[in-house]
Amino acid sequence: MLSQCAITRLNDVPCRRDGLRCRPLDDEAVLYDPAHHTLHYLNQTAYFIWARCDGRRRVQDIADAVAAAYETGCEGQDSGGQERAPDPRVLGDVRRTLAELADNGLIDSGCLDTHDATCCNSDPS
């Protein structure tokens, strides 16, 4: 079951929770939460998304970055200078991943739909 505070809006600004220990290995990572003594394995995509939860990027920005990295979606601006929506499949996957990260206490929901960059570490590791 996904969290009630699941991040679903394009303008939500998720940020990594403070106090987590991250050990990146190749393109993946293991996170340790000392407060709850729990371990989490993030595969490549999950780590990519979690690492970009910096309290500045919006959900849409993260989805754009995923699309760009995996070359699956349209991102940036169209020829008229308007922002284009990311591929809905990518956006859906990113939202699900963010919800799962939130459910596991790996990102805070305190910056939803705000632009508060103070709640995040700048360095994921």
């Binding site: 290995l25 190749d26 993946e28 293991v30 729990t38 371990l39 989490h40 596991n104």
Partner: protein
């Protein structure tokens, strides 16, 4: 994608009263034999003399003449039940009662088990992972798995093929050098593997078999009986292979990511509750220099060949 791990609960050391209860080990007028098996010092005193003798046969090369500081004390005390008048054997570790068994043939496996419990609780120096550990040409391989996944059988198979032995129970990692330390306890082989291992040349004495709870009939083998130089020196980790018994399916091996391997290793670590963040960093450091695989075991010879092929690829720098 994310996955929570079940972290073992930290176990506390015995109280002073429990420790004092074991001082009876020095009584009874017999000299207590002391052993140093890798970093582990232990003494065993048994009311069942054949248990002391069997333990000595397995660990005679590691006999020392004086107790070391922090020595683990294992005692086997025979008592009759006041109601049934049956004789039971009470196995104590550092004064704490750990097991009570009825059959004399169950005592030695539980003495071994008691020693494992003491190591997992009270050996503070090394980072511990539940695993068999072997090496070849100075390169260590960790075979981590819970009980019943075939890690001992695989280790025994590799032993018959010229690999060196470090442990059948614990990967002990020195936190300063990140090297594997030998803890050359006897291999405990289940009856289901007797024939296969005998065919591969393991000198098992199956007439000297024992009973170990749900594992059923088991036999112990001192690795030094396979080869005089069978026990390895400390070595770095080159491979991490997670075995899982696949029954009749053909053996297969596939790469595993290093992050996944660290995650899985921490789940079968006895030390993580104590080391915590330092344990994560330590294991990440170890695994960053290793190649990691998941192995579906089955036919033992084929399984060993798959592991050897991985080591060969690593040595030759192939992808």
């Amino acid at each position: 994608m994310t996955q929570l791990a079940a972290i073992p609960t930290r176990l506390e050391p015995p109280t002073g009263k429990q420790a004092a209860a074991s001082s009876g080990a020095r009584l009874r007028g017999r000299e207590l034999p002391h052993y140093r098996i890798g970093p582990v010092s232990v003494s065993v005193r048994s009311d069942l003399v054949e248990v002391e003798r069997a333990f000595h046969e397995l660990y005679e090369p590691y006999r020392v003449h004086a107790p070391a500081r922090g020595e683990f004390r294992i005692e086997v005390i025979a008592k009759r039940s006041p109601r049934s008048l049956r004789r039971y054997y009470h196995i104590r570790g550092n004064g704490e009662e750990l097991f009570t068994v009825r059959h004399p043939r169950s005592v030695l496996p539980h003495v071994e088990w008691a020693l494992n419990i003491l190591v997992s609780r009270y050996l503070p120096v090394c980072f511990q992972i539940h695993a068999s550990v072997m090496s070849r040409h100075g390169v260590g391989i960790i075979l981590p798995a819970p009980c019943g996944r075939g890690k001992t059988t695989l280790a025994a198979g590799l032993l018959t093929r010229g690999w060196s032995y470090l442990s059948d129970e614990f990967a002990l990692i020195d936190p300063f050098t990140l090297c594997l330390q030998p803890y050359p306890k006897a291999l405990c082989v289940k009856a289901g593997s007797f024939d296969t291992l005998a065919r591969m040349g393991l000198p098992l004495n199956t007439r000297e078999s024992y009973l170990k709870g749900e594992k059923g009939r088991v036999a112990f083998i001192n690795p030094l009986r396979v080869r005089r130089d069978a026990v390895a020196d400390p070595c770095p980790v080159g491979l991490v292979v997670f075995p899982d018994y696949g029954g009749d399916a053909p053996p297969a091996i596939e790469p595993m990511s290093r992050a996944r391997a660290v995650f899985e290793l921490l789940r079968v670590s006895f030390s993580f509750p104590r080391f915590r963040t330092r344990g994560l960093d330590l294991l990440a450091g170890v695994v960053s220099k290793a190649r990691c695989y998941r192995l579906r075991t089955g036919d033992l010879v084929k399984s060993c060949e798959l592991v050897e092929a991985c080591l060969q690829r690593r040595d030759s720098g192939e992808g």
